[in-house]
Symmetry: C2
Subunit: 486 residues, 2 copies
Amino acid sequence: MDIEQFRKAGYQAIDRICDYYYSLQGKPVASQVEPGYLRKALPPSVPTVGEDFQVIADDYQKLILPGLTHWQHPSFFAYFPTACTFEGILGELYATSASNPGFNWSASPACTELEAIVTDWAAKLLGLDAAFYNSSEVGGGVVQTTASDSVLVAVVAARARYLSQHPEVSMEELVIYTTTQTHSLGKKAGLVLGLSVRALEVSFQDNFGLRGEALRKALEEDGAVGRKPFVLIATVGSTSSGAVDYLEEIGQAVASYPFLWLHVDAAWAGVSMACPEYREPCQLTAVNKYADSFCTNFHKWGLINFDSSFMWVRQRQNLINALDITPEFLRTKHGDAGTVIDYRNWHLGLGRRFRSLKAWFVLRSYGVEGFQKYIRDTVKHNEAFAKLISESAQFALVVPPFLALTVFRLEPRSLPKDKLNELNRAFYSRLSARSDIALTQTDLNGTFCIRLAVGAARTTEEDITRAYAIMCDEAAVTLKEWDESS
Amino acid sequence: MDIEQFRKAGYQAIDRICDYYYSLQGKPVASQVEPGYLRKALPPSVPTVGEDFQVIADDYQKLILPGLTHWQHPSFFAYFPTACTFEGILGELYATSASNPGFNWSASPACTELEAIVTDWAAKLLGLDAAFYNSSEVGGGVVQTTASDSVLVAVVAARARYLSQHPEVSMEELVIYTTTQTHSLGKKAGLVLGLSVRALEVSFQDNFGLRGEALRKALEEDGAVGRKPFVLIATVGSTSSGAVDYLEEIGQAVASYPFLWLHVDAAWAGVSMACPEYREPCQLTAVNKYADSFCTNFHKWGLINFDSSFMWVRQRQNLINALDITPEFLRTKHGDAGTVIDYRNWHLGLGRRFRSLKAWFVLRSYGVEGFQKYIRDTVKHNEAFAKLISESAQFALVVPPFLALTVFRLEPRSLPKDKLNELNRAFYSRLSARSDIALTQTDLNGTFCIRLAVGAARTTEEDITRAYAIMCDEAAVTLKEWDESS
């Protein structure tokens, strides 16, 4: 494809993306294809002779689009908010047009410098302490791929710090602390690193947030039997139910354990701190006082296209001590002089995409006020949904709604408590069979629940009303079937 | 930004990318900015009110472009081949336009299915054994971010397999084998996972490839002192010098060590196996016989934009055993039934980009013949450069050229051997100060050398001739200065 052919195909791509967004609302939210649909449709190998790009582009429309679940659909309420924006798309387009694996400053200075600047911008936007700014030259921010990636980096740095102070400790004695509500990234970090994970118990009464006392007790128990907890993965806004650990209590509890690294995962909820009124529910003060590292995914509720996981550390040296390798072929004048950040030592891999560009586009285009408005609108939509649920006679909130997330279930007064899980599984099964809405399920200490997460940039009040109407319709059918079968 | 504003900004982006490629040849290859240039140019925080996108797009041209090192410049010969294509750009554009973190099949069926198909296509293209195809339902392929990521996944799977068979072994006893020429990703895997790394010695006589005998000896030595090697990261085409480990010998040596996982990292060289004539130099037969996992980065020499690291395993169950976690909120009907691949269990994170789309675009658009032609042209260019070097009286090849890579240095007959490193550092220092060419340095067992890696899709015979002329000019000045100062 030459430059003029690219221009033509590029315009067409832009036009087709416009068509996609014009028609999005009318599409099924979740893909309706069956497993194996695409293998049946495609030849078994690369064609011998290259094909015309128009044929390929048409196949995207014909074969790929129907196989997508539309995370940007206004009625996509599954998993977590994921707001993809046009500015983010354009940022990704420019970034990929001059492919730059900016592992060193000199491999592409703009990649490194913009990432350092944009993570500082975001830190200020969220109210993070200046200790986390790159401009502090002590702490700093970096854009990772996902919150799993961020947590892995944090745990690796924590382990290196701990073992450098306790060289006699063996890997088998080390323990990663999570809670039973921590995202699976906690357990996965344990699997990847081959380390034990202890999931501390949390309770319904505390809205599934970890209390300082529970942590203190665990530290004492483990201390008594020679296990070495070295990192706590705390959460602000769990995926399952929006649980927030009690960070101030946790901070006090770990004061006498200076080698317990506190990583705060605020993957979806953290960006709400752009609005001053959500800083207290997200425990910003305690994050600023106690966190060794903090992560929030702008690719979730932050209007930036996947992937864009922002991670900050209080001491960049902990990352570099844990991850720096500089073979001869990666040495550079500025790197050797220490005058620049070499981000390869701040993450697991070597090459990295120019992820900060789309962040820069989005943050500038929205501005603080535009970003805040989007967050506030989402919270308002979720509150509206939660209000409908809480005022209904047949539904009940399982935990208080948190920012963009409502966890609820069907709780008709006529049914005994011990039947409710079964009823709600039947209810959820009906919901998940629908093509015009997407939600997800969860389990809270044995209680089967349904999650509704608002966040697609196109969701309006009307979509919320419609979602509630669907709940009511499906609840009616579920209850009717239940009555008939019992 | 509404849909029509996006259309306008999108057309402009396409036009500007066209301008970029029309003007690329005239740009300095390496960015000429000084550290800190961008922080000086940008405000310290997100603007309060959103800005017009035109201003932002213009700032990209004014502030970002000059800070890029142009990896697609025809005179970019640094690091490794990185060929970004228009088809790849379009693939990334479509992929990001409907952001889909396809961690589960149902999170976006097309993402999973296309990845499984495209990795099968690529496996066939390269001549990999059918055991590595997803269609085998035993082995399979996955697209990771980078070769570092692929190696981490391989080592984690290898460790899990080893420890499941040897539960009595402690992490401190485990050893990762690399060679002294393995990419830094080997050492980094050790750092990340907290495991020992033993870099086996390789020699100049063997062109820095690992011999079976050296491996056998190391296994015996470690066995005698109770260390437990569990994975060997072998290389086909080292970054430094294009070294190829002797995989047939290695395969025979490990026959009596069934728990030593053989990972073959062919990050930049592997894609050349699309041409039958390069399969033997890349040791395809031995890869097919012995490798537990194999990786090649199509984002290097494979015409697909970063990131696109293809990894295949002989036993997918080893990945799943090592990495599967399925909390309630990630459970799905098809996942539970085991009828689909859930790629979240094949990599370190959870969310993933729709990376296979650009691969599909590129492979279809080039076809087998177009892909082969590109690879052969690159090799031809590199051979032309290597021929000029080897026929010159003042330059010498340090090792035989390998595919797209030449490692050489200045070796005037007049100078004693022990002065050559110093001379070549001075020579390289002159080269790296130039803005019209980019190369990198390396060190081979104490010999300082210069690397020229061909691969940018726009490099022609003429660029090679020019590169050689630059070598001659700078060599002349370097030698003159050397004579004057001694």
